[in-house]
């Protein structure tokens, strides 16, 4: 929001004793961004950055979906020549890497970036400049991958990039480096958001919001943030060592020089398995939020759901070897990972039982978001069941690296994350844009997605049993996979149609949808207290929270906190457990440095796949921008 005509400024004006309208105007002025392009480039507002994240992630979804459509065209009939093997390998690698690193993780972090500060009742995310930096890094990583793909140097080694295939001897050209460096970009950006989320949830909550009062969606994002911090370094070690092997001849993964090809797999999957939960746990948070609102009661077993989120997050780090059962590990070691993989069914089951109890004891009102949650139950639970199957070593040895596994993880990820995400989009769209999405198109959207998904992916279970391996660019007619592949491709195009309808609904509703008002669903959590779309400062008054669903508990008037500055960006810091007010702190103002630092980092990252020296001068370049970033500024109070 552009800064309004200057209002007379007084030192340390507090929000006590101001008329509502004047308070709103002054806060909007203080928290708003500068006008014009400069304002757009310098903003540190979590809502603006969150929106950009969302739009970019949805563009990535559309692009990745396009590649999936080409894959299904190629595989619709045996021995087709829609694309050749070289392009096909780039396509399936880019599809996987894009969907995991550039769509699924960022889109969840986008919702987190937008919603967490609103849901915990604060005015911005912690370290706003880091948030801006993380978005620019994410954008640069996405552009880097897609430009490489268009230039025919897209990665062609699978999203997992196993050595030696991706190593210096077999992964010729720069394709594997593009994969490895794209990882670095997205890791930097997701680690940044993870740190912001944790600090916001721990220290910026509205007074009175104890740990158990934190909404389940926020809990889910908190657990996810911790998982990112522990999981992502492993893949950064893997991808950086790979670049070193390729660029300066270290032999981390070269067996003939004492390295190990298996080591790469351990590092990758130590990240790769938690990654699945990094995508799925936010989905469960969305499901909890939607179920709570549309069954008209708080989620049954709020604390049990929190415990199962935390348990899932921890167990997720003990399962990575079930991706490696065929590598010939000793029995005791492999069996441990079977048990761990099976155990994770217990917290997942607990969440599902709690949700079903909530729905059964509430008065469910079916709207599009809840439809997608029903779709989630159907698809995700099935994917969870096949997950129990692949945890068993003998069964996994048959279905590993076949279309059975392709079916399994699409059931888990599309069912467990994308269906909740679509539901969440219908649910929170009015908050973000101020307008409702079309309910009629939403119902069509749901049924097309539900039918298309199942027709596309269920046959893949059978294809896997019938022996069809993954990552093949074609197959022969004498193995009997023709009919099911054709069916699957037909389903895939129904799914494409459903996403086209989804995007159309969003674009149309953003312009002509009915106005929503602050709380169109009569939901209970704090984000619905703010106007839709929220003003730059989110809340005119910081609320005081007494219940996990404050808007339901205090229907008439929510207690508020007063005494916060209106002419400086001031936020309230509260204690970790009970959210007792501790102190007031300044929140960062707009700054161009995040953008400049991101440009410097991008230059360093891309140059360093060509020359090791780029890591040296690139670091110096980044260092200079960080000096600018942290250059001491006199506080406003000091000036006045």
């Amino acid at each position: 929001m552009p800064r309004a005509a200057a209002t007379p400024r007084r030192a340390n004006q507090r929000d006590t004793g101001l008329e509502d309208a004047e308070l709103r105007e002054r806060l909007a002025y203080t928290w708003g961004r500068r006008p014009g392009l400069i304002g757009w480039l310098t903003t540190v507002d979590h809502k603006e950055i969150g929106r950009r994240y969302l739009v970019t992630a949805f563009v990535m979804l559309a692009l990745g979906g396009l590649l999936a459509a080409i894959i299904r065209l190629q595989l619709a009939r045996p021995e087709q020549h829609v694309v050749g093997p070289d392009l096909y390998n780039q396509i399936f690698t880019t599809h996987g890497a894009n969907m995991m690193f550039l769509f699924a993780v960022p889109v969840m972090q986008a919702f987190s970036m937008y919603l967490v500060p609103l849901m915990v009742g604060t005015r911005n995310i912690a370290f706003g400049k880091v948030g801006a930096y993380s978005y620019w890094m994410y954008l640069a990583g996405g552009v880097f991958l897609w430009v490489s793909f268009i230039l025919d140097i897209g990665p062609d080694v699978g999203w997992f990039a196993y050595v030696p295939l991706s190593g210096p001897q077999y992964g010729i050209g720069k394709r594997a480096d593009v994969w490895a460096q794209m990882i670095t970009f997205t890791e930097v950006s997701s680690m940044a958001v993870a740190v912001e989320t944790i600090v916001t949830v721990f220290k910026h909550r509205a007074p009175g919001m104890t740990l158990t009062d934190i909404p389940l969606f926020v809990w889910a994002m908190l657990v996810t943030a911790f998982m990112i911090i522990f999981a992502m370094p492993a893949v950064m070690v893997a991808s950086t060592s790979l670049i070193l092997d390729r660029l300066i001849g270290t032999h981390f993964f070269n067996p003939s020089e004492g390295g190990s090809a298996i080591l790469f797999q351990h590092l990758f999957w130590f990240f790769g398995h938690p990654e699945v939960y990094i995508i799925f746990i936010p989905g469960t948070g969305m499901v909890s939020a939607i179920i709570e609102t549309f069954s008209r009661r708080p989620v049954f077993g709020h604390v049990a759901v929190i415990i199962s989120l935390v348990a899932t997050g921890m167990l997720a780090f003990g399962l990575w070897v079930h991706h490696m059962f065929a590598t010939g590990l000793p029995e005791l070691g492999a069996s441990f990972f079977t048990i761990m993989s099976m155990l994770i069914a217990i917290p997942s089951g607990l969440q599902i039982f709690c949700w079903l109890t909530t729905l059964l004891t509430g008065t469910p009102v079916i709207r599009t978001p809840l439809l997608f949650v029903f779709g989630f139950f159907f698809i995700f639970v099935l994917g969870g069941m096949t997950g129990v199957m692949v945890a068993s070593i003998p069964i996994d040895l048959q279905v590993h690296d076949t279309y059975f596994v392709v079916a399994h993880f699409h059931y888990v990820l599309i069912g467990g994350a994308v269906f909740p995400l679509l539901g969440a989009t219908y649910y929170w769209f009015p908050k973000i844009t101020g307008r409702m999405m079309s309910e009629r198109l939403g119902v069509w959207n749901f049924w097309l997605a539900f039918i298309g998904f199942n027709v596309a992916f269920f046959p893949m279970h059978i294809l896997g049993i019938l022996g069809m391996p993954r990552r093949v660019y074609t197959y022969q007619t004498d193995v009997g996979w023709d009919g099911l592949n054709l069916l699957s491709s037909a389903g895939a195009f129904i799914l494409v149609a459903s996403f086209a309808l989804f995007f159309f609904n969003m674009l149309r509703s953003a312009r002509v949808g009915p106005l929503a008002g602050p709380n169109p669903w009569d939901a209970g959590t704090l984000e619905w207290l703010a106007a839709s779309p929220p003003p730059p400062h989110n809340f005119d008054h910081i609320p005081f929270v007494t219940h996990a669903t404050p808007l339901w508990a205090e229907r008439d008037s929510l207690p508020i906190v007063s005494g916060i500055s209106v002419n400086t960006r001031e936020i309230l810091i509260t204690t970790l457990a009970d959210a007792q007010p501790e102190m007031r702190e300044a929140s960062p103002d707009s700054s161009i440095w995040p953008l400049i630092a991101a440009i410097a980092t991008t230059i360093a990252f891309i140059a360093s796949i060509f020359s090791p020296w780029a890591a040296v001068w690139g670091s110096a370049l980044i260092g200079v921008t960080l000096v600018g970033w942290f250059w001491p500024k006199s506080m406003k109070e000091d000036e006045e």
């Binding site: 699978g158 469910p364 193995v479």
Partner: protein, 336 residues
């Protein structure tokens, strides 16, 4: 019930014109049979649980609130809380019990899989981009021989294969006989095959290994002990010297052109080890690791333009005149 489910899978295959020779459902090996019955047990138990969850969802949908303006005040107090906690608690205990039982079943099934790992392998299998080198061991050098992309095994006798790779990671998988096992450079793996009935079973590389991962298949021919002995004896022999004039000319072309730099034909000067051993190439069913069934036409097409059939294959195009091509093809196809 189990049989019916198995039929369903096979029917689904049959509908799509299936030969069913690369299917985990059509098991012909001891290991594959054990895995298949475990798979069916898991499918039934987990399918029933899934069905129970779906019934609960169906009840929710039936009981939905139908009022026109249906978003209204929410409930905060739940007097049935205690009873519901008991229900959720018992469901959780049931989940834990089911998980424990399934884990135990899985452990019982995996015992034989790990039991034989220390045994000595009689066959070495070496993965290459994108074909399979097969070396049969023997007590004396005269009993050893090398072939490619086609293994014969005796029915009823367990055969252990050692799995090696010299380039990238591949994975050996014959769904009808056993689960898969990776071939990893610098790492020793092995797998045991025990065919219970004679037949030809197709297998395929299951770990993404580059450009032609899709065309890296092989055949396992399980046959009676005497047939297997005969096959071994035939494979051990050097290639017969061709009698017909065109085949003799083909042999000449083979050793004078670049062919011999990469391929071995035992009994001739051709001794290259880059590509598959062709001593008895005519006895194999397929060309190019499963690209086409072997016959005069497909073999000639392969020699004339390997990249047309398998883009990216490591075999370079060799320029031969029409006569030379015919002669070489006739020579090779006759190497039974």
């Amino acid at each position: 019930m189990i049989r019916r489910l198995a039929c369903l899978f096979i029917l689904a295959g049959a509908l799509s014109g299936c030969r069913d020779w690369q299917s985990a459902a059509n098991h012909a090996g001891a290991e594959a049979e054990r895995i298949w019955s475990l798979t069916l047990t898991f499918t039934i138990v987990l399918g029933l649980i899934w069905l129970a969850v779906m019934i609960a969802v169906a009840i929710v949908i039936r009981r939905r609130h139908r009022a026109a303006v249906s978003l209204h005040a929410a409930m905060l107090d739940d007097e049935k809380h205690r009873r519901n906690s008991w229900i959720v608690g018992s469901l959780l205990a049931a989940t834990a019990l089911t998980v424990a039982i399934l884990t135990a079943l899985s452990f019982v099934t995996q015992r034989p899989l790990f039991a034989g790992r220390a045994a000595t392998a009689g066959v070495r299998l070496i993965g290459h981009q994108w074909w399979w080198e097969v070396r049969y061991d023997g007590a004396t050098p005269g009993e050893m021989f090398t072939t490619a992309n086609e293994l014969h095994i005796p029915v009823g006798t367990p055969i252990r294969l050692s799995l090696e790779s010299t380039d990238v990671i591949h994975s050996f998988w014959v769904p009808s006989l056993a689960g898969k096992q990776d071939l990893i450079p610098g790492h020793n793996n092995s797998i045991e095959l025990l065919a219970q009935r004679p037949g030809i079973y197709r297998g395929q590389c299951a770990e993404f290994c580059g450009l032609q991962h899709a065309h890296m298949s092989f055949l396992i021919v399980a046959e009676a002990a005497d047939a297997f002995e005969n096959w071994q004896a035939a494979q051990r022999a050097a290639a017969a010297t061709p009698q017909e004039s065109d085949r003799a000319k083909g042999a000449q072309v083979f050793v004078s052109k670049p062919c011999a730099l990469c391929h071995t034909i035992r009994g001739t000067p051709a001794g290259g080890t880059v590509g598959p051993d062709l001593t008895h190439v005519g006895s194999r069913a397929y060309i190019g690791a499963g690209v086409l069934p072997l016959n005069m036409g497909s073999l000639a097409a392969w020699i004339a333009d390997p990249h047309g059939l398998k883009p990216g294959v490591n075999m370079p195009p060799v320029h031969l005149g029409p006569d030379e091509l015919n002669a070489v093809t006739a020579y090779l196809i006759g190497l039974k």
